[in-house]
Every structure is written in structure tokens, then in C-alpha cells.
């Protein structure tokens, strides 16, 4: 019974709760039981709010029983990446420096989830401050891939992706600065959407690269991603980079979801796809064949500056990070060194003792590229390259509705395989980074498996603020395939 319940999508579970076939409490209990059994192996969560979730579920069940109006996520247990502020529990960013930090306010997305009657079951693990592509940079715990526990779940939203794949929640929020929603979604066989920059409020998201960060959903279906977007999208006066309703109205993402996009022109960049593992390429090609059968036309497009995205990204993201992370000073909140000999040591020793290696490396790199004498050569140059990359997309979208390519050049890699050489880890982000630099939306959907039974993700990228169309294109794939219904052996 509870296993059946756990396999439902958010949309299905919500329908069952509203029609009183099941209750939110039953769903929460099923998830808590699964967590007891599977979580010790997977390690997806940093905090679990057992009592809080049970109380919340009971409230929602009462609301439904008494015939009151119910929110869009009526009683559905979901998880939140632990870099979004919550007044309940800690907000750690998987960092020693925030291990005991209790946020004094909720992130806007958290407020929206609560208003939609979602039940927040816990907060998920990540690479410290969302810096990484494997969740191995977490300063607090290890998360493994539910499809193969010797492998990484991807990152930085690895905890969210693993929790959704292992049925330890029905959906989750992640954040994406250079692929941190899409890449773990791909490696764990779930759906991950990075919305357009400005579509979802970042208020209460702990900042990493402020011109690139965006919050989005990780779910088991495209339909659920649309449902989440209906909850979290929209303007927020507390985030001045969120777009106002008058400039860019928020559509109903579920409204026309099942209407296929016709005619559909898909842009492909052949030379790019060639860089992926052969079985990743095969899964992508199979997907393109499927779209062709559904009536889509493929057009070859050129992205002459795509190759420079990683270089530009690691300059811009680290520059922004070095500035954003200056706030961890051992004075206002967070860790302070035990016995500073003067006030300078309050900063420099607290930071040295509590930040992990990757965070230090990025602060160092960012500080260097912003320092006198190097600013023009590195940072300014990167901003100009960023403009060229955005122009590539603008030109490409003149000839097609969307672009399709892999999410990751490889399926889930082994734990420890890429930790020795930071540059090798950065290069794994080759397909995801450009969307952040250009601010456009992109989604990862399950599209196949390699010969180790590891999931492959298809990435679809679309023009800014066209998530509704992007989701419809992704939905065409979903209703014609069954990859999203496969489950890891671990939970069979």
C-alpha cells in the first residue's frame, strides 16, 4: 500500500488526497517509513522535520475534511534544498560555517510552498554553498546515487535529486547556478527545471553567483514540474531581480501542457553532442528520432561561442561568490574561531577553519580575478564572452523553438573519481552552464539508460520566459516514453 502511494506523482497524490482516497498524513507516514529504511543508505537529507510534517499533514487533512479551500500542493510531502531559509530547523548550506544557523525568516519560495499547503518533510544535502557537481563537497554528509550507491548523485542539488529518485519525497526544490538542478536530475533519472533568471524569487536563497542563481523544481514528471511552477513563479518585491507581472505575466503552466507544440523546430548542435559518452549520445539521438516521429523538424544551429562558456562561467561565478561570501565574517552569524588573537583573526581564522576546500578555492579564484591588475583581463573579458554566448542563443532561436543536447557528458561517475582535479570536475558542466550565462530556461528529462542501468538526461533549452512552451515540449517526450516510471533497484 505505502509503496504504491510513494510511486504516485505529486499531481496524482494531490488528486487522491483531495478526493479523500488517501490523506496527507498517510502520505507523510509512508515517506517517513521510507526514510527510516532507505535514508541511512542514500543520505539525501540534512534535516528531517518528523513532528512538524505530521502536524502539518493533520492540519491539511482537517482543512480538506471541513471543506475549506485547499492549495495547489494539497498535503504533498516535499523537500527543500538546504540553502533556502526556513524559520523551522537549521539552514546550513552544508557548510561548517552555518552548521547551527537558524534563519529568522522563510525564503519566499518556502512561504509559497506553505501557502500552497505542501508539507515540507526535510531539507536536502548539497555541495557546500552549492559549489560543486557531485555533492561530494558537502561539509556535513555524504549522499549517494540511488541507482548505484558507489556513484555520486550529481550536484549541487544532489540531495534533492536523490530524495526524489528514491521516493523519499514527492518533489523537491533545488537551485541552479551552472547546472545544479539539471545535472543531478539527469544523473538520478528525474525531471529538473531551471526557470528563466527572474521568474522565481531568490529572496531567502543563500547567494552564490547572484547573476546566475535560480530556484526550480526536481520532480518525477514534467507535469509535476509545471505544477511546482504554478506555485513558485512570480514577482516578489523582496527580490528586485524578479520580473514584474506587468512586464512578463506568469502563465498557467498546466493549462495547455498536454497540447503538443506543432509545428516544432528543434535546434541541434552536432559538434556539441559528439563530446558526450557514446551511450549518452545514443539516448539523445533516440529522443530526437521520437520527436521526429511526432512531427518535429530538426535544424542544425551554430553556437560558435559555446566552447568558451566554462571559462567565462568560472570567472563570473567565482567573482560573485567571493563577494557574496564576504558576509561570513564570524561576527553577525555563523561560526567564530575559538580564540582569535585580534579582530582580523575573527575573520580570517573563522573562515579558514569553517569553509571547505572548494569554497576556499572559489573565494581565492574570485578574489584574484577581481583584484587590481587582473579585473580587465579576466572578469571584464568573461562578461564580454557572456554577451557573445547570449547572442548565440538569440540567433539560434530565430531558427528554432528550442535546442536539445545532453545534460551531462557522462552518466553518474564513481564517488572520488573526479575529486583530485577541480578543473576536471568543472569541465563536467559543459552543457549546462550556457543557460545560466544567458539567463534562459532549461530542463532535464529522463531519456534512457546506459549499460550500467544508469539514467541519461535530455536537456531542452528555450528562449527566456517560455517555460510554458518548454514544458509542453518536454511533456511530448514524457507521454510517449516510460523512462520516468523506472525505479532504482534499491527501492524495488
Amino acid at each position: 500500500m505505502s509503496a504504491e502511494l510513494l510511486n504516485l506523482s505529486c499531481s496524482q497524490l494531490k488528486a487522491q488526497i483531495i478526493s479523500k482516497k488517501t490523506t496527507s498524513l498517510q502520505a507523510v507516514n509512508a515517506v517517513l517509513q521510507a526514510i527510516e529504511k532507505i535514508e541511512p543508505v542514500v543520505g539525501a537529507y540534512i534535516s528531517i522535520f518528523k513532528e512538524h510534517a505530521i502536524a502539518q499533514a493533520k492540519n491539511i487533512d482537517e482543512k480538506i475534511a471541513s471543506g475549506k479551500e485547499i492549495g495547489l500542493l494539497a498535503g504533498v510531502p516535499i523537500a527543500v534544498k538546504d540553502n533556502m531559509c526556513t524559520v523551522f530547523g537549521a539552514t546550513t548550506c552544508a557548510s561548517g560555517i552555518l552548521k547551527n544557523f537558524h534563519a529568522p525568516y522563510n525564503a519566499s519560495v518556502v512561504e509559497k510552498l506553505i501557502a500552497a499547503d505542501a508539507v515540507i518533510i526535510g531539507k536536502t544535502n548539497l555541495d557546500e554553498f552549492a559549489m560543486g557537481s557531485s555533492t561530494e563537497n558537502s561539509g556535513l554528509k555524504k549522499t549517494v546515487n540511488p541507482w548505484d550507491t558507489n556513484r555520486v548523485p550529481g550536484g549541487s542539488s544532489g540531495g534533492s535529486a536523490a530524495a526524489v529518485a528514491a521516493r523519499l519525497c514527492f518533489g523537491a526544490l533545488g537551485s541552479d547556478t551552472g547546472g545544479s538542478i539539471r545535472q543531478p536530475a539527469s544523473l538520478c533519472g528525474v525531471v529538473g527545471l531551471k526557470p528563466t533568471y527572474g521568474r522565481v524569487s531568490r529572496y531567502g536563497l543563500v547567494a552564490y553567483g547572484s547573476s546566475l542563481d535560480q530556484i526550480g523544481p526536481l520532480t518525477r514528471t514534467v507535469q509535476d514540474a509545471a505544477l511546482f511552477m504554478n506555485v513558485i513563479a512570480g514577482h516578489d518585491c523582496k527580490d528586485s531581480t524578479s520580473i514584474s507581472q506587468s512586464i512578463m505575466p506568469v502563465p498557467d503552466y498546466l493549462d495547455k501542457l498536454d497540447e503538443p507544440v506543432k509545428p516544432l523546430k528543434i535546434g541541434i548542435v552536432s559538434q556539441l553532442n559528439a563530446g558526450a559518452e557514446s551511450l549518452v549520445q545514443k539516448a539523445i539521438n533516440d529522443s530526437l528520432e521520437l520527436y521526429k516521429k511526432l512531427g518535429a523538424a530538426l535544424v542544425e544551429v551554430k553556437m560558435p561561442h559555446f566552447d568558451y562558456a566554462i571559462a567565462a562561467y568560472y570567472m563570473i561565478a567565482t567573482a560573485e561568490a567571493s563577494s557574496n561570501l564576504a558576509r561570513y565574517d564570524g561576527v553577525h552569524y555563523g561560526y567564530r574561531t575559538a580564540d582569535p588573537k585580534d579582530y582580523i583573526e575573527v575573520y580570517s581564522k573563522s573562515r579558514a577553519e569553517a569553509f571547505g576546500q572548494e569554497v576556499k578555492r572559489r573565494i581565492m579564484l574570485g578574489t584574484y580575478v577581481l583584484s587590481a591588475g587582473y579585473y580587465d583581463a579576466y572578469y571584464l573579458k568573461a562578461l564580454k564572452v557572456r554577451n557573445l554566448i547570449r547572442s548565440d542563443f538569440v540567433k539560434a532561436f530565430e531558427n528554432c523553438d528550442c535546442l536539445m543536447m545532453p545534460v551531462s557528458p557522462m552518466t553518474a561517475f564513481r564517488i572520488g573519481e573526479k575529486t583530485a582535479d577541480p578543473l576536471q570536475m568543472y569541465l563536467a558542466d559543459v552543457y549546462t552552464i550556457a543557460a545560466n550565462l544567458a539567463g534562459i530556461p532549461a530542463i532535464s528529462i529522463p531519456c534512457g539508460f546506459d549499460d550500467n542501468n544508469l539514467p541519461v538526461g535530455l536537456q531542452i533549452l528555450a528562449p527566456a520566459f517560455t517555460e510554458d512552451k518548454l514544458l509542453r515540449i518536454a511533456r511530448m517526450h514524457e507521454v510517449n516514453t516510460e523512462f520516468h516510471l523506472k525505479k532504482p533497484k534499491l527501492i524495488q
Binding site: 512586464i247 566554462i310 564572452v385 578543473l423
Partner: protein
Amino acid sequence: MAQNISKQDVQKVAKLGRLQLSDDEIEQFTGQLGSILEYVEKMNELDTSNVEPLAHCLPVNNIFRPDEINESLCSEKTLANAPDCEGEFFKVPKILDESSA
């Protein structure tokens, strides 16, 4: 353009970034930052002399709102996470020594 980063550069940057790094870390970062910067040099293959820098991708610039007083965090909540505080203040070690008093 800039040569590979030296150990002295790394020490200087660590000071600017307020990170008290160990000798081992300085050594390690010198190598790692060097190879990352070497990779990044590939941006120089592109002629960007006529390209504007792009700091963000939004179709908006200034955001204005009425200058009204709204509710903000009270000092009790603000100080709740402080490593050390006294009364309504964050507490830090002495900044001025006796001679400059």
C-alpha cells in the same frame, strides 16, 4: 597576459579574501589556480574589442519603490545567531590598541 599565478600572489589573495591558509593550502592552491587560469586563457582566442560586457540578462534596470517605512527584523532576532553579543550589540575583540586610544 598574466603569467601563471605565483605563491606570493596566492598569499596576497588569501589576505585580501580574509582566509588564513596553511602552507600546504597555499602550495596546493598555487598549482590548482594556475591550471584553472591557464584554461581560462582560452577566452583570449576571441576578439571582444567591440563587445559590451553583460553583467546580467534581465530586460530591466532600476527598480524603484515608494520610500516607506516597513516592518524589519527586530534586534532580538537579528542577534539570535551572533557568535557573541552584549545588549543590543554584536561583540568583537578590541579593534584599537591602547596607543591609538
